[in-house]
Symmetry: C2
Subunit: 512 residues, 2 copies
């Protein structure tokens, strides 16, 4: 049989081509902004901070001008008329959404928000240094006021203010959906948490460095290579706070930080950031210039980092693979077999600090913040009453009361830089990670044996096809449905943490 | 006595302030372009090349739009009217010069030049790989044609084409000045060169790596710190080709490359790039946003790198300082005392390769290129006849005939990327370095004793005051006059190389 003749390329409407031309420029400028940030965190000389801020502000103003230009609005209108397939319609709609958000905010307010975030960072750092919330209060007051103004402009008079901010990070998500998910989570998680030992949240093992950083780095590099991070299209560096940043799918950079006394944060951090990076490296190449060529949302992004960190990296199969080579690199690992390593990676404790939280308690930390930031935005709660409200919420959810604001309301930078509506995306990611992994296992069968061989290709291929290659051509809620066959629920996640608590209770006595 | 009241700041004309506002944005965008290039050479993942080219093209188009905007032209006109001091007048004049060059080139030609440079790089690399000039010829033909078109647009019908291109790198310089300087240099240098042994130009010591790269790096870092490179406002990395790039005076980055069998290229490369960096770090802070806040020219830039490399780094005092600690770091250094080290740093040989050339022969390599590129531009020489003309020129100047184009006309990338008029700035820098150092010694006294103690502050202070802090407020020729009291001449440089040849002849027999 002869080969079929090659399918001729389908000509795309000129308006769609024009929209991609304009949007491609914006995406390239955003890639440059990403490089400026990456460099600042990893490479930049200490005294270049002021100059860098000006460079970033200059770029941001150019991006804003392009997003709000008449030329782009005309291109979107024509693309809306001429778009023929679902991808083209999604691109026009996403361009409309992004530019609508930019157009709704006057330049004056954008400038005030940026300035308030800079002052907020400063005040937050000083408040943390001297332990007092009071010195942070005026800056936060100002920020909440500006965010309320921003939300009002974005939402119109009737819509929910919180939804308007949430949409920035999770397009189309609504507080009502979050309320429903948290209502499923809260009683169960609170009950599970009751059983867990409390820890002060600042304790660290001390003594000589047991895990040399170079060896930890080698271990992390081996892990990220094994799970499929493409080093020809990315790089790994160290920074004070680990992050992943994409300058486009061919240049995805992750950073890590290690604790010389505990190899877990470094190792799991590698997995977490590499999970983000795999998503970026798997975004659809043919949509590189399109409004829907990026990640679907922060929640979907977090689902990828969490899936690799928790569902893969903390699985029994992964622990057996790790056990086969890790003790050679890090001879000080304090346990006798792969099962003990599994327990070591699953220390479950009620603590005060979100970033140190385990899988069971993590979403309660998010819930506290979600409730408080909603109340701040709607003015049901004043900034002055926030520290006490924080203590009440932590006592209710985690049975703990922070002894200081540093271990309480001052622990995260998010509010200080105006990120309201951001925290819930962590929980959306946690839930989606569980639900996606369950769906993958249902299709591919149990993956522990493959993991034990260091074979992660099946799960990566599944994610590439189901999630990564979709980009933002679907809204995040539809991405979950496409991947798992169901809307996002708390059930898979709850099954996951129940198994953890059970496994832990069963073997906890053998803890090294 | 009471303190005098502080002098009130002199109010600057609003038009001058407005010009700096617009120009500051351009300088910030240029700093971002510099970061993109630096990252590409040092950090960028291999497969990000295509995306990076697009990012750079996007930025370049924005800078071009700003440079050619009506808004900027109006600001320059008003600044020309309102400028009150020499600095303000120089700023307006420099803005006029830069924007005039940008306005003279239609967007179509700018795009064709960029594309031809990309193709030229490709063709040059392929020609080097298979050794044949013929495969490079069409690309170079195209580039020369476009450069001729560019030069015609820049110079107007009557002026010299070559001067129009030279002005890009050396504002205000003319071929007639270069001809005069080379006429002084040529007979003397050809005579000195006759005495030198010939080397094939590709010989390298082989065998085990004698100088571990980490130790070479430590040595280089010690040197650049000692001469005053501010690591809070810069950094050092490795790259295939050493360079210095400034993102503003607070962020100046140098790179290095080392030869495991020969510590000299790494050490002298450190000094060379740090010399460039000291200049950038010493540019006037109050003119950071001004058209005259940058370097005066490439020639002045090269004078700074060469001064630290050759006048300081190859001095007897410096060799004695180096001798006091270098053998500890690099125990394999093959000589017995500081004088032998001095000789080791002054190996004088006729070779075929410019970047390996010593101080005596270097400017003859430049002269050959200068003659040939002038002849190409004026069409006295065709691209087809270039390889033979190269061989004739090298035989006349250096008494050598390259056995291949790779060791001849294909050795430099400059022409392949459209840099015509660039090579002579190397010679201007070499001459100015000698003349400036002579002037510094005339004022400060012999510096060898200070160098021997590792004290380089006097010479740095002198350069800061005489050269660095001037920025581009004076044309490069005036910078030389201000620093040395005389226009640029060949005399100081010739005295310098005569001393070298003499010192070498006197002690050459003791070579290790």
């Amino acid at each position: 049989m002869l080969d079929a003749p090659p399918t001729p390329p389908i000509p795309r409407p000129p308006a769609v081509v024009e929209l991609e031309r304009l949007w491609g420029e914006i995406r390239r400028l955003e890639a440059v902004e990403a490089l400026l940030s990456w460099d600042q965190e990893t490479m930049m000389p200490a005294r270049a901070t002021a100059a860098r801020s000006e460079q970033i502000a200059t770029l941001a103003a150019i991006v804003h001008d392009r997003l709000t230009s008449d030329e782009l609005q005309r291109a979107i209108e024509e693309a809306e008329r001429e778009a023929s397939g679902p991808e083209e319609r999604a691109a026009a709609a996403e361009a409309r959404r992004r530019t609508g958000r930019a157009l709704a905010i006057p330049r004056r307010l954008a400038g005030e928000l940026a300035a308030a975030a800079a002052l907020g960072t400063d005040a937050w750092q000083r408040a943390r240094a001297d332990g007092g919330f009071q010195s942070f209060r005026p800056a936060l007051d100002r920020l909440i006021g500006l965010k309320r103004e921003q939300a009002t402009l974005l939402s119109g008079p009737d819509a929910a203010l919180y939804d308007a901010l949430l949409d920035e990070y999770e397009p189309g998500a609504r507080a009502a959906d979050l309320d429903r998910l948290f209502a499923e989570l809260e009683p169960e998680l609170v009950a599970l948490t009751r059983e867990l030992p409390a820890e002060p949240g600042v304790a660290k093992e001390t003594g000589a460095a047991r895990y040399p950083l170079a060896s930890q780095r080698d271990a992390g590099a081996r892990v990220v290579r094994a799970i499929g991070f493409d080093e020809q299209r990315g790089r790994v560096d160290s920074s004070a706070h680990p992050f992943c940043i994409g300058l486009g799918r061919d240049d995805v950079r992750i950073t890590w930080r290690a604790d010389p006394d505990d190899f877990r944060p470094g190792l799991l951090g590698f997995l977490h950031e590499a999970g983000h990076a795999l998503y970026e490296q798997g975004l659809p190449a043919h949509l590189a210039d399109s409004p829907v060529g990026g990640a679907a949302s922060l929640g979907i992004h977090e689902s990828q980092s969490r899936l690799w960190e928790n569902q893969v990296g903390r699985s029994r199969g992964f622990c057996r693979w790790l056990w086969s080579w890790l003790p050679e690199l890090l001879p000080a690992v304090p346990f006798s077999d792969a099962e003990a390593l599994w327990r070591h990676l699953h220390e479950l404790r009620r603590g005060l600090i979100r970033v140190d939280a385990d899988e069971v308690t993590y979403n309660l930390h998010v819930l506290a913040r979600y409730r408080l930031e909603k109340a701040l935005l709607s003015a049901e709660l004043t900034v002055g009453d926030l520290p006490e409200a924080w203590r009440v919420e932590y006592h209710r959810l985690l049975g703990l009361t922070p002894p200081s604001d540093r271990l309480g309301v001052l622990q995260d930078i998010h509010w200080a830089i105006g990120l309201i509506g951001y925290f819930p995306t962590y929980t959306l990611g946690n839930l989606a990670a569980s639900q996606m992994f369950e769906a993958a296992v249902a299709e591919l069968g149990n993956l522990d044996a493959a993991f034990e061989r260091g074979d992660f290709a099946p799960v990566l291929s599944w994610l590439r096809e189901r999630v990564h290659s979709v980009g933002a051509t679907l809204p995040p809620r539809e991405v979950v449905v496409r991947a798992t066959g169901r809307p996002l629920e708390a059930a898979a996640f709850l099954r996951h943490v129940e198994r953890l608590v059970e496994g832990h209770a069963r073997t906890g006595a053998e803890r090294p």
